[in-house]
């Protein structure tokens, strides 16, 4: 790998990790959901510092072009992130569903209580 390119990759991946950590610190990202991103950014840093990993992975998996091994690894992390997102969305959708139903039921109860009270007064 070209050493200038490697330097850029190392710097940008470290900046990316700092960016994520900062987001978590400012409570813009929930650590629980940002964990996949942290792991990913850490993996990119390691790969940027030790590009041999890519070459040996390619060798181990009988991938001729090391760049393809890199794509494979990146794809793996992206799939991981997207999948955890889908899980989170499903859970959130279920929670919203239950909340909306409970609010609807509560609104009716409150309205009934209000009417009863009014009836008692007059």
């Amino acid at each position: 790998m070209n050493s200038v390119f490697q330097l850029i990759l190392i710097i940008s991946s470290i900046l990316f990790m700092i960016f994520i950590l900062n987001m978590i610190r400012n409570k813009n990202l929930e650590l629980r959901h940002a964990l996949t991103w942290l792991v990913t950014s850490f993996a990119i840093i390691i790969i940027a510092i030790f590009p041999q990993i890519i070459r040996s992975t390619a060798f181990l998996l009988h991938i001729i072009e090391p760049a393809n091994a890199l794509f494979l690894i990146i794809l793996f992390f992206i799939l991981l992130i997207v999948f955890t997102l889908t899980v989170t969305i499903s859970k959130s959708a279920n929670k919203i569903n239950t909340l909306v139903q409970e609010i609807g039921l509560l609104k009716l109860t409150v309205e009934k209580l209000k009417n009863e009270n009014r009836g008692g007064h007059y």
């Binding site: 959708a93 569903n97 909306v100 139903q101 609807g104 609104k107 009716l108 009934k112």
Partner: protein, 232 residues
């Protein structure tokens, strides 16, 4: 005397629901009614309230499954023995509500009103009938239960099923899926003939564009429901 609740999910049904509520009051005044207004943009809620009917106004549109489930939660909270589901569009004639309730009182867990037993009244379009036949066959394959009208939204169920539905109900296109889910948990299901009307106004929730998605989704949902874990 069993406590019976009629659950009516409604989304933009201001032109149909008034007539439906009047008919229900005339045919079965002894039953309570709850309308679940799924965040309608029109005056559905006001039309119901002007008739002294209890309305649950959902703050966000949940779709038919979420709306119906709200009704079952209400039934569970207030301890109803039997819940009858009636579509808000006036397709279901209220004279059959008593018939559905009777079946449940006789001991079946859920009774579905079917328009294909006596084949009278509105029979839907050919394309829909083919789709319904297909679901009917799939249900038979998955659960060995003969259901002639699996997409019918006219159904009555007892307390055990109310409790199950309050806890778990599919989000969209729920009817065929719930049949499998109930059979999978050893509930009994029967059908009784009803005559349905053509929709008075408004459109069915299933348009041509959505029908392919609908077929695939319901097919998969039924297969998954048949192999789902049985938490009762």
């Amino acid at each position: 005397m069993e406590k019976v609740l009629i659950i009516i999910p409604a989304f933009n049904e201001e032109s149909n629901i008034g007539q439906l509520l009047d008919n229900i009051k005339k045919e079965c005044p002894q039953f309570d009614i709850i309308v679940v207004n799924d965040c309608s943009k029109d005056n559905t809620s006001i039309v119901c309230k002007s008739r002294q009917i209890n309305v649950i106004d959902l703050p966000v549109n949940l779709g038919i499954g979420g709306a119906v489930q709200t009704g079952y939660k209400y039934a569970l909270n207030l301890g109803y023995d039997i819940a009858v589901q009636v579509d808000g569009d006036g397709q279901h004639n209220p004279i059959y509500i008593q018939k559905l309730v009777n079946k449940v009182e006789q001991g079946v867990d859920m009774c579905i009103g079917s328009r294909y037993i006596e084949k009278k009244g509105f029979q839907s379009t050919l394309a829909r009938r083919i789709g319904i036949k297909y679901f009917s066959r799939e249900i038979y394959l998955l659960s060995k239960q003969k259901i002639t009208d699996p997409t019918s939204g006219a159904r009555a169920c007892n307390k055990a099923v109310i409790k199950y539905f309050a806890n778990s109900y599919p989000k969209d296109y729920p009817e065929p899926e719930t049949i499998i889910a109930l059979k999978n948990r050893d509930f009994t299901i029967s059908e009784t003939p009803v005559i349905m009307n053509e929709r008075e106004e408004g459109k069915s929730s299933i348009t041509a564009m959505k029908s392919i998605y609908y077929m695939i989704k319901v097919t998969l949902a039924m297969i998954i429901a048949s192999i789902a874990k049985k938490e009762k």
